[in-house]
């Protein structure tokens, strides 16, 4: 494998040829037979190239990111050197990943030179996967680290300790690594501290985007408690401390001594006592950040080449997980300092550049250079990251230093970025409302069943409330606290019909509590997009964002966290487990399957290619929101379906092998799938609805057990998914196929799926490349959902919170590098107080009442039949849209007529000197555009006039008067808001466009000869 890389480095083959070679099984390079020959001899190894490259990069970087896999020289014989993945599902199936890699194998490859033959089935995911989440999130996973638990230093009991790999525990008593605060670190090479750290430069110019007091996107507080400590806590930032902090430093010093004492006294069983004083790799949270200097990059050409190959692999989706690679690159970008360990055996021999004997990254400069090279190739992806990440990137001084051009583009992207991404789940523990149509006595076979269910509903909520009250308490245990009550309740469900009633309640409550997409929650699915946000409950949103920053959100465990049940989902999972009722599970699967089918098949309003101009934008937001709601619900339902369906097959034990596996396969292969997901996937792909189907399917599959991917049925699914993955080349902007963010979402979820431990490692790399086989040859609908920009940034981040890890990484860098280390906490307070008092919590009547009205509208629908809500929203949608059309046909048309007559006047008075058309237009604009302001008033009037009648016509005659009038009012409000939002944003542009068109029409018609004017005047006026 290395041969390929080497011949590349020797410039025997071009990067393009190599990438072609990797990507296609067919001999690619026709243009250069020499290249083809060089590569064709290596043909059998083709599949192993990418794994090799990825491993190679990780190994090379291990000196910079020492928390990664140990480098050969440094951890000889560390038998536990294979760190598991961070975090894991509660039942411990997670540990299996690391067991899949017999330590010896990894070590043997690692122990030899990187060129070592990679015989057998050495696969990439080891290091690649392990890298996932390594540096940031380890502390988060809490109890769920069965396989990898050994990495945690539980012994000394401090909650904020960095967690480490076994091979790399912090040696707290090592003065070199953890010198007394304030002392000059005895840097191994006697390196002086970078001057930037000594002279406090409070805010560099490049950080001008930060307004420390008001910025909302800077390092989120969420980073602090759980994820950051690993680096923050023990890092003696004290270097930059003002002299006044003496006592604090002393305290820290004492703490450190105390800790190291404890460490020596009570080594935890899971953690081998570090050999005191032995030179251990230092950690990212090192003392000083080495400054990176483009001038000191050691072998540019080589780095450029590797970066190019690497970038190409990423771009071609030859790597399993795009964001994992980005995470890795970000790690390189923000590497703090190169470890200068004793391995000077890598003497840089002259001419070593063309082979792999010498380390690729010889200094921080190399790392940063490489990282920036890669990032430059992926600007498009970067530009779609959230605003906070963009800001941090744009402000990264290393990036500026190495590529001012990229920095400039990122900065522009930041400034152009609109959406702030908030992952918060608003609290919405509302109960499912009682609907007489489905819940009254007539729906039950006997009085007894009716009354039993009445009691069950109450017990269910009682249990839920108790869970809400207690689940965060330290010693509380779901099973102990509620288990018996749940089972007693389930025991009363005798009639099958009661089961289905209860499951319906359960599922509705699940959707209600867990699916809310950053919006106002509470929506029962298929039923409506979110009214609250439609009503402009901006205030509430802000309040929730604030809350998100104050209470730590459920942290995702690194860039590839295992599937989890965050927040309220935990209740439903534990309920299922505690109930341990076969009947319940069966009914639940039935019900979930049905709902999934229903939502998956929902005819999502397709974005009609806009009729002549942009007024279909009006419908736009609503559609996108509806898509988000449907998608998130599907994902939630599919996750629970997967959880329940594979529950009987999952266990902590390692996957079966040999004969046992065969017999299990024989057994399992004849069990029909709980839901025919393969067909749904095929249909989804054919109908170009992958963007809807794949994300939920991934959720479903993420709970599969080890055997599942081996079954023919599911293997077929994985093959389809792999082909899809490969086909989603981001740089290809093929018209009418798939939108960028849609692709990005699919890449993110698929990449995540490929990292799930139960998915075999070889699956990704052994699967035959699709070449270009992934053509959905069937008659695809003209405009599938895939080609509609339904995914926005908010949805992307909601579905893939782990993308936020990138931001955390950058934030961590900022916190350590710019001398405002304390910034995390400090910044929060003023921001929150000001924004809240002025907007959300304030008692100023207008704002409060607006929020109340939004709340009321939301509440209004709660106890009404779902059809009422659908009707109101439909009316609002249509009337809002019609309103814009109406304004166009009246007000705008009038203005155009005025423009035309003004133009005529102008032409008459000025004679032949019509003057500069542009100037003319400006004059017209300035006269006419102010009239656009009327649009809002007219629009409001239109909605007020039209909506009530429509609502009245569509609702049942028997609707109570009060309900009717409220529904009418809400419809008016929604329609008005919709129309006015569009009008206020677009009316001026619309007028300008129309006037411009009219003017150019007139001028053209006018022709060169003024003689024709008189006649035309009449025409144009008509």
């Amino acid at each position: 494998m290395a041969a390929v890389l080497e011949s590349l480095l020797r410039e025997e083959v071009s990067v393009a040829a190599v990438v072609r070679w990797i990507a296609c099984s067919t001999q690619g390079s026709k243009d250069n037979p020499g290249e083809a020959a060089a590569l064709s001899s290596l043909q059998p190894l083709r599949k192993e190239f990418v794994p090799f490259l990825l491993n190679f990069l990780r190994e090379q970087s291990s000196r910079v990111l020492p928390q990664g896999p140990p480098t050969p020289a440094k951890a000889p014989g560390a038998s536990t050197a294979l760190p598991g993945r961070p975090g894991g599902p509660p039942r411990g199936s997670r540990g299996a990943r690391s067991q899949l890699f017999p330590p010896t194998e990894a070590l043997s490859t690692a122990a030899e030179s990187p060129v070592a033959r990679r015989g057998g089935r050495r696969r990439v995911p080891g290091p690649v996967r392990e890298r996932g989440g390594r540096s940031l999130e380890e502390g988060v996973s809490g109890e769920s680290l069965p396989g990898a638990g050994s990495r945690r230093l539980r012994g000394s009991g401090s909650p904020c300790r960095p967690s480490l790999t076994v091979s790399d525990p912090p040696n707290l008593s090592n003065l070199e690594e953890f010198p007394p605060v304030g002392s000059v670190p005895p840097g191994p090479t006697g390196r002086t501290k970078p001057s930037r750290r000594i002279n406090p430069t409070p805010v560099s110019e490049e950080r001008s985007l930060s307004k420390p007091k008001t910025c909302f996107t800077s390092p989120p507080i969420s980073c602090v408690p759980s994820s950051q400590p690993s680096a923050l806590d023990t890092r003696p930032w004290g270097l930059g401390l003002p002299p006044g902090c003496r006592s604090l430093q002393e305290e820290r010093e004492m703490l450190r001594k105390e800790r190291s004492k404890q460490l020596q006294q009570s080594p935890t069983p899971t953690c081998p006592t570090p050999e005191l004083g032995s030179p251990l790799p230092s950690r990212t949270g090192g003392l000083t950040d080495e400054p990176a200097d483009p001038a000191r990059v050691s072998s540019r050409q080589r780095l450029e080449l590797v970066a190019l190959v690497y970038s190409s692999c990423i771009a071609e989706n030859l790597v399993p997980n795009l964001f994992l690679e980005l995470f890795f690159v970000f790690q390189l970008l923000t590497a703090r300092r190169m470890m200068t360990a004793k391995d000077n055996d890598f003497e840089l021999s002259p001419g070593a550049l063309d082979n792999l004997e010498s380390p690729l990254f010889q200094s921080i400069h190399d790392c940063v250079f490489f990282a920036v090279q890669v990032l430059e190739c992926h600007f498009q992806v970067l530009s779609n990251l959230d605003k906070g990440t963009l800001k941090l990137l744009a402000e990264n001084e290393r990036l500026l230093c190495f590529s001012p051009a990229l920095q400039g583009r990122l900065r522009a992207a930041y400034e152009g970025s609109v959406a702030k991404v908030s992952l918060v789940m608003p609290p919405s523990a509302q109960a499912v409302s009682f609907q007489p149509e489905t819940d009254n006595r007539a729906n039950f076979s006997t009085d007894r069943a009716f009354h039993t269910f009445k009691k069950q509903r109450d017990v269910f909520y009682e249990v839920l409330r108790e869970w809400e009250d207690h689940h965060e308490e330290p010693g509380w245990d779901f099973e102990k606290g509620l288990g018996s009550r749940i089972r007693a309740m389930m025991g009363q469900l005798s009639a099958a019909c009661s089961h289905s009633h209860f499951v319906r309640l359960f599922q509705k409550q699940l959707l209600q509590m867990c699916q809310s997409p950053g919006g106002a929650g509470g929506t029962v699915l298929g039923e409506a997009p979110d009214v609250l946000s439609m009503l402009g409950a901006d205030k509430l949103g802000r309040l929730w964002r604030l809350q998100e920053r104050l209470v730590t959100p459920q942290s995702s465990g690194g860039p590839c966290p295992p599937p989890t049940f965050p927040g309220c989902q935990g209740f439903f999972r534990d309920f299922i487990l505690s109930a341990s009722s076969f009947q319940f599970n069966q009914h639940l699967m039935d019900s979930l399957s049905l709902k999934i089918r229903e939502l998956n098949g929902l005819a999502l309003p397709q974005h009609e290619p806009s009729d002549e101009d942009g007024e279909s934008d009006v419908d736009w937001q609503g559609e996108r929101r509806q898509f988000a709601v449907v998608l998130l619900s599907l994902r939630l339902l599919a996750k629970f379906l997967g959880f329940v369906a594979f529950l009987p097959y999952r266990g902590p034990e390692p996957p079966p092998t040999g004969e046992l596996q065969d017999s299990i396969l024989a057994l399992r292969s004849q069990v029909p799938p709980v839901l025919d997901v393969r067909t749904l996937l095929q249909q989804g792909l054919q109908a170009r609805r992958a963007v809807l189907t794949v994300p939920w399917l991934v959720e479903f599959l993420s709970f599969a057990d080890h055997v599942v991917p081996l079954l023919d049925y599911y293997r077929g699914i994985f093959t389809l998914l792999l082909r899809l993955h490969r086909s989603l080349v981001l740089s290809q902007d093929n018209e009418g196929k798939m939108c960028f963010l849609n692709k990005l979402l699919l890449l993110a979820v698929l990449g995540w799926l490929f990292q799930i431990p139960t998915v075999p490692e070889d699956l990704f790399f052994l699967e035959e490349g699709p070449s270009d086989a992934f053509e959905m040859d069937t008659v695809a609908p003209e405009h599938g959902l895939d080609s509609v920009p339904v995914v926005d940034q908010q949805l992307l981040y909601t579905c893939c919170p782990y993308i936020g890890e990138l931001r955390k990484l950058l934030a961590l860098w900022v916190s350590g590098s710019s001398g405002r280390s304390g910034g995390f906490v400090r910044k929060i307070t003023p921001t929150t107080t000001t924004t809240t008092t002025s907007s959300s919590l304030g008692t100023q009547p207008p704002q409060t009442s607006q929020g109340l009205q939004a709340q009321l509208a939301q509440a209004f629908f709660h106890n009404q039949p779902p059809s009422l809500r659908r009707t109101v929203e439909f009316v609002a949608e249509r009337i809002g849209s019609n309103c814009v059309k109406h304004i166009k046909a009246t007000l705008v048309a009038d203005l155009v007529r005025q423009a035309e007559s003004l133009l005529q006047e102008q032409l008459l008075t000025q004679g032949e000197e019509v003057g500069d058309p542009a100037q003319l237009l400006e004059i017209l604009y300035s006269r006419l555009c102010p009239h656009g302001a009327q649009a809002l008033a007219l629009g409001r009037e239109f909605c007020q006039r039209k909506s009530p009648g429509a609502v009245r016509a569509l609702l049942p005659e028997e609707t109570p008067a009060a309900v009717l009038s409220s529904a009418e009012n809400i419809a008016v409000g929604l329609a008005t808001e919709k129309a006015c939002a569009w009008l206020s944003a677009n009316i001026t542009a619309l007028i300008r466009r129309e006037v411009k068109a009219a003017v150019s029409r007139t001028l053209r018609a006018q022709g060169p000869e003024p003689a024709a004017r008189g006649e035309r005047r009449g025409c144009s006026g008509a």
Binding site: A859, F860, N969
Partner: protein, 287 residues
């Protein structure tokens, strides 16, 4: 009318020592002049009921019953017109109506072949003239009219008061132009749990010191004082059940409640001692 726990405890403490008579109530009124008569009466009645519940069993042993019956017989033999049964009840610290029931049961057992059914007894208590024995009828009557906490008369009064407040509440809702479904309508529609009123269009109640308003979907009227015991029972049997079906709502304890019990506001059960004045309705011009 909304009492702190401490204030409430003081009153309850005071009640432990006094007998359940109208005189005691007057004294209580003097002792706590700032509290309304109705509140005091309601607390008084609740405390007395707790007391009776605690001691109920000891009056129902067969020995006790036998001894009460003998004393009654002896008493009426001496003077049939004297309030023998009432005095006996007061003497042994038991509710007169309950004492009357006890004796009536004992009496009927002796004089009828079959043990009397509950409904027969209830009906005789409601209308003592049905009691075959004139003397006993008179005694029972005295007990019932002099009991201010138990008995058909008190039940009747309580029911009337409860109904009265529901009517008052209904008038207020109508006056505020809030449209609602009442208990009977809900029952007709097959609801399994029925609060007094469900608002067809929810409202928000603003509380003086609170920042946020509370959405109200339903209103339950309670013509009593909300003490811990009764509130918890109501929560379990009614209020949470309403919440589980209709969302957040309002409970009005017309005779006040213990302030500390109003702790589920955020969850969606708001307590008030009167019809709230600061109500926000869905505006007619939302935009």
């Amino acid at each position: 009318m909304i009492l702190t726990k401490a204030q409430y405890d003081e009153i309850a403490q005071c009640l432990v020592s006094v007998p359940p008579t109208r005189q005691s109530l007057r004294k209580l009124k003097q002792r706590f002049p700032s509290q309304s008569q109705a509140t005091l009466l309601s607390i008084f009645s609740q405390e007395y009921q707790k007391h009776i519940k605690r001691t109920h069993a000891k009056h129902h042993t067969s020995e006790a019953i036998e001894s009460y019956y003998q004393r009654y017989l002896n008493g009426v033999v001496k003077n049939g017109a004297a309030p023998v049964l009432l005095d006996l009840a007061n003497e042994v610290d038991y509710a007169p109506s309950l004492m009357a029931r006890l004796i009536l049961e004992r009496f009927l057992q002796e004089h009828e072949e079959t043990p009397p059914s509950k409904s027969v007894i209830n009906s005789m208590l409601r209308d003592p003239s049905q009691i075959p024995d004139g003397v006993l009828a008179n005694q029972v009557y005295q007990c019932i009219v002099n009991d201010c906490c138990y008995g058909p008369l008190v039940d009747c009064i309580k029911h009337a008061i409860g109904h009265e407040h529901e009517v008052l509440l209904r008038d207020m809702l109508l006056e505020k132009n809030l449209s609602f479904l009442d208990e009977d309508q809900l029952r007709a529609k097959g609801y399994d749990k029925t609060p007094d009123f469900i608002l067809q269009v929810p409202v928000v109640m603003l509380c003086p010191l609170a920042v946020e308003g509370h959405i109200i979907h339903w209103i339950e009227s309670k013509a009593s004082f909300g003490d811990e015991c009764s509130h918890h029972a109501y929560l379990h049997d009614q209020f949470w059940s309403y919440w589980n079906r209709f969302g957040p709502g309002l409970v009005i304890y017309w005779y006040g409640f213990i302030q500390e019990l109003d702790c589920n506001r955020e969850r969606g059960i708001l307590l008030k001692a009167c019809f709230p004045t600061n109500i926000v309705t869905l505006c007619h011009s939302v935009a």
